[in-house]
């Protein structure tokens, strides 16, 4: 295996799948000639031509809407939103159209459509360019929701997602693009909806995904080093379908559960994981489930404030210590 960046892994997955499936068409702003502001689609227009890699005007509702029509007529469109925050200018086409048309038609149409985007804070971009929307896609039914944390998962999940017959929201993180990791060559497929134990442990279970997963691993190291606490870290990888079995399997070993995510706490993934665990494994809990999530506030630009709104590794450590005391 060779080391690739998260960006390279994504590009490799797109390249391999576009070679495999001629119906895959990419649409987005500056993804063609320029190669994408985050470089994911770099070079693809030269390999596949400007019919399959379409530079669009700044018309998200337009090109996501076109993608919906394309998906119903034999194509597999992949619409790129440069920033996840822009899902709000095309929300109708995403949630009233793409997410519902198959069901409303009684299954008469297919909707093999993907939206790709990157989200998250940590760069001081301010409240309109730092948001995370996996919760919206999890609450409003219709999309599978994929959030890879590592280059290997980025490739494996993207390849699987590009073969999935359902609408898929593929969510990257702006601060993961330059991370490196071993990535299998060729046919590397990671199934959608299977969580992954990224670190084994025995004292508590930490559930996370996307960039926050790296913070969880960092916190787990600190817990081990400084406090002799052994944390198992579960990477949810997808919030739809949500693999609660793997979470409960871990909980049965540790009997303590902490969930951490960058997105806002209220009605977030943490609350949903907690609810499902409580429904199925209440008696396994030796302490109340702990949530370490983004504050319910806009994401400020100043570093000193942004790092409070978005939970950093020390906040996870603090939460874990509280959890170990509690119950």
């Amino acid at each position: 295996m060779r080391e690739l960046t998260y960006t390279q892994a994504l590009r490799e997955a797109l390249t391999e799948e576009m070679e495999r499936d001629p119906n895959i068409i990419l649409l987005g702003e500056d993804i063609g000639n320029y190669g994408g502001v985050f470089r994911v689609t770099e070079g693809l227009i030269h390999k596949f031509g400007d019919k399959r890699v379409k530079d669009t005007p700044i018309s998200e509702a337009g090109f996501v809407g076109l993608s919906v029509g394309m998906a119903m007529t034999g194509k597999r469109p992949v619409a790129e939103l440069m920033f996840m925050d822009f899902a709000l200018v095309c929300a109708d086409q995403i949630w009233n159209q793409a997410a519902k048309l198959r069901s409303m038609s009684g299954g008469r149409v297919q909707m093999p459509l993907m939206i790709r985007s990157q989200q998250g804070g940590g760069r001081g971009n301010g409240a309109q360019h730092s948001q995370s929307f996996e919760t919206l896609f999890t609450h409003l039914p219709g999309f599978k929701v994929v959030l890879p944390a590592t280059p290997a998962d980025a490739k494996g999940l993207l390849k699987s997602a590009l073969r999935d017959p359902n609408p898929v929201m593929f969510i990257e993180h702006k601060l993961l693009y330059n991370t490196k990791g071993d990535v299998p060559e060729g046919e590397h497929l990671v199934p959608l909806g299977k969580a992954d134990v990224k670190r084994a442990g025995s004292d508590l279970t930490i559930v996370s995904y996307s960039r926050q997963l790296l913070f969880a691993l960092e916190a787990a190291e600190t817990l081990q080093k400084d406090h002799g606490i052994s944390a198992e870290v579960v990477d949810l990888r997808c919030t739809v379908p949500m693999d609660i079995d793997t979470v409960i399997a871990s909980l049965k070993k540790t009997h303590r559960l902490l969930i951490t995510h960058e997105s806002h706490a209220a009605c977030g993934i943490g609350a949903e994981v907690a609810m499902r665990v409580m429904e199925r494994a209440f008696d396994e809990l030796d302490a109340p489930i702990m949530r370490v999530a983004g504050m319910d506030l806009p994401i400020h630009s100043a570093k000193s404030l942004e790092e409070q709104v978005l939970p950093q590794p020390p906040a996870i450590v603090a939460g874990a210590l509280k959890l170990m005391k509690g119950g």
Binding site: K51, A61, G62, V64, G65, L66, G69, M72, S105
Partner: protein
């Protein structure tokens, strides 16, 4: 075309009846009075051409060839409905006739049709896409973005605006500042045409031209069709926003009445011929209602189907 227009009229009138009888849930937006636009346009394109329309799209769907039994069953939310009873009145969808859906979101179907046109362009199969929308839809963002893209990418798309003078209860003058709606196309450097939407032959000719233009690779056309809905926006509309006189005037221009007169005057058809058609239509609709009423409701298990694949 005359028969199809009557079929639409009879279908809608049957729906109004069924709605009164509380057999139909949700809202009903009859297209009575707009049959010429629907039939003229759909007869001017091919069966395998793509189409999207709106909650007021029963006419367009029937004109495109939807099975009226399945359509009526959908109105009654039956298992045999075109969408298995899951979509109801505003979401008829049938790709086998190119119908990519009515839509309950104003202008929601416009970018979708543009996407189908893009597929056709990529496939080079000579298909075109036709999208119906109302005079109120031209003020939605999605409409704007779709028109810009359609012209920019030279898509084989026909944009058919059914200008019936009102958006729900809002008169034209209160929804846009244009002298005529077709002027909106100027903002996209797009070709436009204006037609009497109650003259089925005029609509047919206009859409034919637009379809040829599109098939010849010359791009989209914006068509403004002047028509009028003879019933309220939906059942329950008090119609306080328009006068009885205005409605009465438009009844004079009833597209079916006009076509009947034309057929008798110029096409040597007799009243008897027309009555025969009316009888066939009545029978067909009666059969559809019977079929629908005798069909079962969806099974409880159906709640989970047709969602995840």
């Amino acid at each position: 075309m005359y028969e199809r227009m009557n079929l639409i009229r009879a279908f809608e009138e049957a729906c109004v009846q069924l709605y009164m009888e509380k057999e139909i849930r949700g809202s009903l937006h009859p297209c009575v009075g707009q049959e010429a636009t629907a039939v003229g346009a759909c007869f001017a394109i091919n069966p395998d051409d793509y189409m999207t329309c709106t909650y007021r799209g029963h006419g367009a769907c029937i004109a495109k060839g939807i099975d009226v039994n399945a359509a009526m069953a959908e109105m009654l939310n039956r298992k045999t409905g075109i969408s298995k009873g899951k979509g109801g009145s505003m979401h008829w969808t049938d790709p086998s006739i190119g119908l990519l859906g009515e839509n309950a979101i104003v202008a929601g179907g416009v970018p979708i049709a543009a996407g189908a046109a893009f597929s056709a362009q990529l496939d080079g199969d000579g298909r075109v896409a036709l999208t119906f929308f109302g005079d109120g839809a031209i003020n939605q963002g999605a409409f704007h973005e779709a028109l810009n893209l359609a012209q920019l990418w030279n898509l084989p798309l026909i944009l058919l605006c059914e200008n019936n003078l009102y958006a729900e209860m809002t008169p034209l003058a209160m929804s846009n500042p244009l002298k005529q709606i077709a002027d909106r196309a100027k903002g996209y450097n797009m070709r436009s045409m204006v037609v009497d939407g109650n003259d089925v032959c005029a609509v047919y000719d206009t859409v034919k031209k637009a379809a040829k233009f599109a098939r010849d690779g010359k791009g989209p056309t914006f068509i403004e069709a002047h028509t009028y809905r003879l019933l309220g926006h939906m059942i329950g509309d008090s119609e306080t926003y328009r006068t009885k006189e205005e409605v009465a005037q438009w009844r004079q221009r009833d597209p079916i009445k006009r076509l009947a007169e034309h057929l008798i005057a110029n096409e040597k058809l007799s009243q008897a011929d027309l009555d025969a058609i009316h009888a066939r239509v009545e029978a067909k609709i009666a059969g559809a209602v019977k079929f629908a009423k005798e069909s079962p409701y969806p099974d409880p298990e159906e709640v989970h189907t047709d969602f995840w694949l």
